[in-house]
């Protein structure tokens, strides 16, 4: 609060250049305009949709690959190496390729967000499977469990904490994927808004976009945590 007040005071007194830094009052004005003409809501909805869809696709695909590798231990090591390699690739560099392949609509942003989250989800799921107590697997085997029963009743539930920690990390990566996709080529979305405003030196709108993106990340994190607490109740007790 104090920082915002000081920032506003400096901008109003002309101590700093409001055009190059923006001002809280300007951000507020920009928010009011955005809300009134509906562009802020629409752009936020687009980015939120891209982020959530990409996060879901990347996390589900990555987790599934990581868990299913348990069925084929022979390719588990090389596949994990490959996913670590993929994790090392700056996903932003893939942006132009994805935009060319999937066009400048929302689908390219979804795919960029999905690619950005896939590797972390997969590495995490692979680790969860590897850390599983061998004696537990043996217990299930002596109890006559089939492979699918083992996946459903042992591997998936014991991997849940890992899956969720990857999911929380991936919220940030998915947002980066969606916003960068919008920077590269788009007609709408918060990334688009920020990019256009930035090139017009409308820093108040840039700030507004950043604030909304931060709120979005916090909201998604809180939502994931809520689901996690519901599913992993045994950690906190009944």
């Amino acid at each position: 609060m104090l920082v915002i007040a000081a920032w506003q005071a400096c901008a109003s007194l002309g101590l700093i250049n409001g055009h190059l830094l923006g001002s809280p009052a300007g951000v507020l004005a920009s928010a009011v305009t955005g809300l009134r003409d509906g562009s802020l809501g629409a752009n936020s909805a687009v980015t939120l949709y891209e982020t959530v869809a990409g996060l879901a696709i990347g996390s589900i695909a990555g987790t599934a690959c990581g868990l299913l590798l348990w069925f084929v231990p022979k390719i588990s090591r090389p596949a994990e190496g490959l996913s670590i390699l993929l994790n090392g690739v700056p996903k932003i560099a893939l942006g132009p390729l994805i935009v060319i392949w999937f066009g400048s609509g929302t689908s390219s942003k979804i795919w960029l967000a999905a690619v950005s989250t896939y590797a972390v989800a997969m590495i995490s799921a692979t680790a969860a499977v590897r850390e599983l107590d061998r004696d537990l697997i043996n217990l299930f085997r002596t109890l006559g469990a089939r492979r699918w029963a083992m996946l459903r009743r042992l591997i998936l539930p014991s991997a849940l904490p890992w899956i969720f920690s990857a999911l929380r990390m991936n919220i940030g990566f998915a947002l980066i994927g969606a916003v960068v996709g919008e920077y590269i080529a788009s007609q709408n979305g918060l990334g688009h808004e920020i990019f256009v405003a930035g090139s017009l030196f409308d820093l108040n709108t840039v700030w507004l976009g950043i604030i909304v993106l931060t709120m979005m990340a916090m909201l998604l994190t809180a939502f994931v945590r809520l689901i996690e607490e519901r599913l992993i109740r045994w950690k906190t007790g009944p």
Partner: protein, 276 residues
């Protein structure tokens, strides 16, 4: 080599005479070889022959590396033997058997409640019926867990957890129960209580039990037979039938107070040292 095989033959007859009914488990000339990553082979068990009768409690003692755990993994089917045969069930009556395995670790699933954990084995072998649920509740109540059916394992003590694991094992109605040092992580008092639980199993249900332990006292207190494994690769050095004179019913404490107890202790200890 020669004396060893004669001894084996003698032991087999000794065991044979004390069996009341048919064998539930026959192990013949069992051998197992582990192949290390660098390709070298290590023989863990060699020419092991053992029969377990119905309702017997056989304690297996031996130094670490004598192949006790490997033997259990072979009996439970987790490993395939390199040589020899393992027959479960009684070929005479055609009865089949089911082996259950219990470890020192209780291996309860933290995301399942006490009742759900107890029913895991039943669930994996088919559908859980109301009957299963009722018998699980009865059994848990008898073990003092009636008030904890909906609790998660994290809220239980070590002894309580091990009793849930025991319930899970027993609900699958095994004919042979393999216990691999199941009580060694527990305090002495809890341990005596669980030993009584095991003795009661034999009395009430006639389950055959094979117990692996490094604790000679536990081996004598629970077993009506103590098998000493030793050597590299592991062989049976001695197979002693245990007869204890107890005042009243034989339990974990009265067995330890039997006049014969010390003599068995000395004999097993000597066999363990001699077989190294």
């Amino acid at each position: 080599m020669n004396t060893m095989s004669t001894m084996d033959a003698m032991n087999r007859t000794a065991a044979g005479t004390m069996r009341a009914s048919g064998a539930v488990l026959s192990i013949r000339e069992l051998g197992h070889v582990f192949i290390a990553k660098d390709g070298t082979a290590r023989k863990v068990l060699d020419g092991l022959t053992l029969e377990i009768g119905a309702g017997e409690i056989a304690s297996i003692v031996g130094r670490s590396g004598a192949g006790k755990t490997t033997l259990f993994n072979l009996i439970s089917g987790l490993l395939r033997p390199s040589a020899g045969r393992i027959e479960i069930g009684d070929p005479g009556t055609g009865a089949t058997g089911f082996v259950a395995y219990m470890l020192q670790k209780d291996l309860l699933l933290p995301w399942r409640t006490v009742l759900q954990n107890a029913l895991l084995g039943v669930e994996l072998r088919g559908a859980v019926t109301e009957e299963h649920r009722a018998s699980a509740e009865t059994m848990l109540a008898r073990y003092g867990l009636g008030a904890h059916l909906g609790a998660y394992p994290a809220a239980l003590s070590g002894g309580q957890r091990q009793r849930v694991a025991l319930t899970r094992t027993l609900l699958t109605a095994p004919t042979i129960l393999l216990l691999d040092e199941p009580f060694s992580a527990l305090d002495y008092e809890t341990r005596l209580m669980l030993e009584d639980d095991v003795l009661a199993l034999r009395a009430d249900r006639g389950i055959s039990i094979i117990l692996v332990t490094h604790d000679i006292e536990e081996a004598i207190a629970l077993g009506n037979r103590v098998v000493v494994l030793g050597g590299q690769p592991g062989k049976i050095i001695e197979d002693i039938s245990v007869v204890l004179t107890t005042a009243g019913r034989r339990d974990a404490v009265s067995a330890r107070e039997a006049p014969e107890f010390r003599a068995y202790h000395r004999r097993i200890w000597a066999a363990l040292r001699g077989g190294a």
